[in-house]
Amino acid sequence: MEKENKAKEGIKGWINPTKYGKFGIERFAWILMRITGLGLLAYFIGHIYETSHILDGKAVWNASLELTQTTEGHIFLALVIGMCVFHTGNGIRLMLGQMGYGLGKPGRPDYPYKPQSLNMKGKACIYATIGLAALAMWYGMAVMFG
């Protein structure tokens, strides 16, 4: 009777940092997509909680707004901007891929086999999206820290 001990890697298969050097930028974009998705979900819940303070009167509302006016608050908001931009840009890349665009055409593979679906167009999109997210974070910080 075989144990199911190694039937799946579990969460290690996602977060093991050694994987990202071995499986390329696409795998890095994949984990970043997961992390930013979870981050934005947490922000969404926190945002609903924060804005619900408007029902508790002006003083409570102003106090909750003050939380975002601190250095930590600005850094947090800059991270949210970065997560938004990356998640949106990479999401568009993935949707186009799922519709069959930018994958190349199936054909007769020649050795050494280079997967067409992991082509330079896709890699360039990932790098551009990371760059855009960094740029947006930098701009947001410049505005918030004035």
């Binding site: 009777m1 075989e2 190694k6 890697e9 795998r27 997509m33 199936p106 007769r108 086999y113 992991l118």
Partner: protein
């Protein structure tokens, strides 16, 4: 005269015919049936320029420890039996030269996301079941050629063949399923191997089973669990590119392709 022959003899014995060096091979040892925990046994073995990782393991098995469990057959990347993690990445042991790894220590482990039978051998039952599930054959009411029935050969253009030929190179080695991050979390996921085979037959102009296959993969643990990490295509030793097949399958389901 005798001195000369002694010199020649000595020269021959010292002549290096093929430069060799030694490497340390770390082999993962475990036996879930006996309840033993995973441990690594280390062996120092000689290797040459063209020694493959499978050769190195078989060297250990022949000379140092007969009990190492490894599955292999063709030794030429055709049978798909010797898939394992080599220095952390799923590869075929017979298709990976020690010299290309560029290290003096090689660690071999069983593939992730498969139940371990013993040491480096894993159980393929789930993968084969998923493979069968997607109907990996041409579905037609009529047979291709039946003598006396007047049924003719079904012709395909080279362009028709190009649409699926790369996906028919799959040797069912399981490296793609091992590398897949979705397989790491969801044991019910049909997996990149089976999905690529579903595409292979759907893209075949002779096949009439498209609608049935799309129904099979369009379920909660089916095609939509793939998030295009691309690791399956990174590790495929035959250039199948399962990630491309999966995305093209989705375009069928989205109605963007006939």
């Amino acid at each position: 005269m005798s001195n000369i022959s002694q010199e020649i003899s000595q020269e021959k014995s010292e002549t290096v015919l093929s430069p060799s060096k030694s490497i340390k091979l770390r082999i993962s040892r475990s036996n879930p049936e006996a309840g033993t925990e995973e441990k690594f046994d280390e062996f120092v073995i000689p290797v040459e320029k063209y020694t493959t990782v499978l050769d190195a393991i078989l060297n250990v098995k022949s000379h140092l420890d007969h009990s190492v469990a490894v599955r292999y057959s063709c030794r030429q990347a055709s049978c798909g039996s010797c898939g394992m993690k080599i220095n952390g990445k799923p590869k075929l042991a017979c298709f990976t030269k020690v010299s290309e790894l560029d290290t003096d220590t090689i660690t071999v482990e069983p593939m992730d996301n498969f139940p371990i039978v013993r040491d480096l051998a894993v159980n393929f039952t789930r993968m084969f079941n998923n493979h069968k599930k997607v109907m990996p054959y041409v579905v037609r009411d009529d047979s291709e050629i039946t003598p006396g029935t007047g049924v003719k050969e079904i012709l395909q253009t080279p362009e028709d063949v190009d649409k699926y030929i790369q996906f028919s190179s799959c040797i069912k080695c399981g490296l793609c399923n091992s590398a897949c991050p979705t397989m790491a979390m969801d044991t019910s996921f049909v997996g990149p191997q089976a999905l690529a085979q579903a595409y292979r037959y759907i893209a075949d102009t002779r096949d009439k089973g498209k609608n049935n296959r799309l129904k099979i993969i369009d379920e909660s643990h089916g095609i939509w669990r793939c998030h295009f990490a691309g690791s399956c295509s990174q590790v495929c030793p035959k250039g199948v590119d399962p990630a491309m097949g999966i995305q093209l399958l989705r375009s069928y389901l989205l109605g963007l392709r006939d």
